[in-house]
């Protein structure tokens, strides 16, 4: 399946911080066919460093989508049945307006003049995209990690536009630990002299700082077990220690490789802006309680967490489930066993597929019976 990234343009977007971005561009992809009633659309929401290319093969790079294992004919998000949409988030660097876009007022990159954004802002822009497609109600919204936050935000902000919400490996607000990891990543970027207060050449940029930030991120996405299995204490192309600060261990080599690879595809300022949006996220903001945040939701919910995910531990999903139950919302929840840590929602998809598939089928059935 060869897919193309499309673009949508909007005049302006009002943000939570009070500022307005104008104009706004959204990069998105779609898979499958929208039916005549426009009732089979599913919006996929990507994680922190993801992009609109969720499935299929990109014609230029030949790369498969980041959730290729979940989206396609016969897969969890079955493109024979559903029309699947994925867009790059606001503040990103893969086609949607962000700090590396041109500021029309100055003719230069926004860089640090880009306003601070929130998860709510990201969702507001997605709603504009969905509206522009003439879709009144999404069959489902789903994503892992930051995608889970957007899936919650959708159900809370636009209850009339969502039949089902599937937040995977997520949380309802960033904890101190999660904020702490993000802050280390940001400091690493800002401590790189090449960052230059955010005003760097596209070609240069704070590569070292960004690579270290990514290395930290990667550690939090894996688990003790998965790292032990994948690397153990194995040495990299040597029989004994080098007694220097070159690479000794496989795990060092892997992290450096991941860090370096990341520089080529991600913008350091986007890293700063999006991690801030993650840290600001608290679905109960301005409400009396988490349960109160779900006061007006009408969607069915399916939450999934993973046993070895220590970045977004299961208890955080369980708190959401508990709050939904206290409002007597229709909610399903399962904790799947996996050794892959937070990354499980991307790489360990067998059981996740079974659950999501059944949940979507029953949602579709309920809608056709006129119950949703």
């Amino acid at each position: 399946m060869i897919v193309e990234t499309l673009e949508a343009h909007f005049d302006s977007l009002a943000l939570d911080c009070g500022e307005v971005i104008a104009p706004v561009r959204v990069a998105y992809e779609t898979y499958g066919e929208l039916n005549a009633a426009k009732s089979n659309a599913i919006l996929i929401l990507h994680a922190f460093t993801g992009d609109a290319h969720a499935a299929g093969i990109c014609p230029e790079t030949g790369k498969p989508g980041w959730w290729e294992s979940m989206i396609g004919p016969g897969k969890a998000f079955d493109t024979n049945e559903y029309f699947v949409i994925c867009s790059n988030v606001l503040g990103g660097c893969s086609g949607t307006t962000g700090p590396s876009s041109i500021n029309p007022e100055t003719g230069k990159l926004y860089a640090m003049e880009f306003p601070l954004i929130t998860i709510k802002d990201m969702v507001r822009l997605q709603k504009m995209l969905i509206d522009s497609m003439g879709i009144e109600k999404l069959l489902a919204v789903s994503g892992g990690s930051m995608g889970a936050m957007q899936a919650l935000e959708w159900a809370v902000d636009y209850p009339e536009a969502v039949a089902a919400s599937i937040p995977i490996a997520g949380t309802w607000r960033h904890s101190a630990q999660q904020i702490a990891f993000n802050e280390v990543g940001r400091q690493s970027i800002m401590a790189d002299p090449e960052w230059n207060g955010g005003y760097y050449d596209e070609e240069k940029g704070p590569g070292r700082g960004l690579a270290v930030a990514r290395m930290i991120g990667h550690i939090t996405y894996m688990s003790d077990e998965s790292m032990r299995e994948k690397f153990g204490r194995r040495l990299r192309e040597k029989e004994k220690f080098g007694f220097d600060f070159e690479i000794d261990f496989e795990v060092e080599s892997y992290l450096r490789y991941r860090g370096k690879q990341f520089i080529g595809r991600f913008d350091a300022n986007s890293y700063l802006y999006i991690t801030k949006a993650l840290d600001y996220f608290d679905i109960s903001n301005g409400k009396a309680s988490l349960a109160a945040a779900f006061e007006h939701t009408t969607a069915r919910f399916l939450l999934i967490s993973f046993t070895s995910d220590w970045l977004y531990p299961s208890y955080q999903s369980q708190e959401i489930v508990s709050a939904l139950r206290s409002r007597n919302r229709d909610v399903a929840y399962v904790e799947l066993a996996s050794n892959y840590g937070h990354d499980a929602f991307l790489v360990d998809v067998g059981e996740q597929t079974e659950v999501v598939k059944g949940f979507l089928a029953s949602t579709l059935k309920a809608i056709s019976k006129g119950k949703s």
Binding site: A323, D330, V334, A337, F359
Partner: protein, 208 residues
Amino acid sequence: MIETELKRGPFVRELLGRSDYAIISELVAPGSRVLDLGCGDGALLAWLRENKDVDARGIEIDGAKVRRAIASGVSAYQGDIDKGLADYPGKAFDYVILSQTLQETHHPLKVLREMLRVGHHAVVAFPNFGHWQVRLAHLWTGRAPRTHLFPHRWYDSPNIHFLTVKDFEELVAQEGWKVETRICLASSHTIAAFHNFFSEMAVFLVKP
């Protein structure tokens, strides 16, 4: 699709291979809101959803079963029924079902009270420890009784609170609840007299 009609009379059919399910399926009103505690892979709930158009929710502790339940379209939640009902507001359901699980809970009375707090009706099915074979097995062997109803050895049994039909009725009276329906069974026949002696299983519909 499985035949739903139950003949009134001494003979009870099976639903999904179980006679308690057949009885429960008759007790539950169409279009109602149902919570099944210890719902397993959701087979009963999926059936009720399909055939009686109920709003089907379930709680199950075993993750693999929860997975299958959700896959079959049931809104199941992975959790412990000894703790799990506290989140629900009062009278959130028309029926709360507890089938073959009461004797496995740590705090049966607490679970029953919670069932009647969150539900208008409780449907409770349990194996009768007062059945004559259980009594005989205990008397003759001098050991923890093992029958086809209670096949486990004392050390590997999931059953931790044994109760009889009489025990349950006493508890209902003590708590001031009301038995709306009682169906006692031995194999596939209803028991008309000496319930506590002859029934292998009982299904109660109770309200506060």
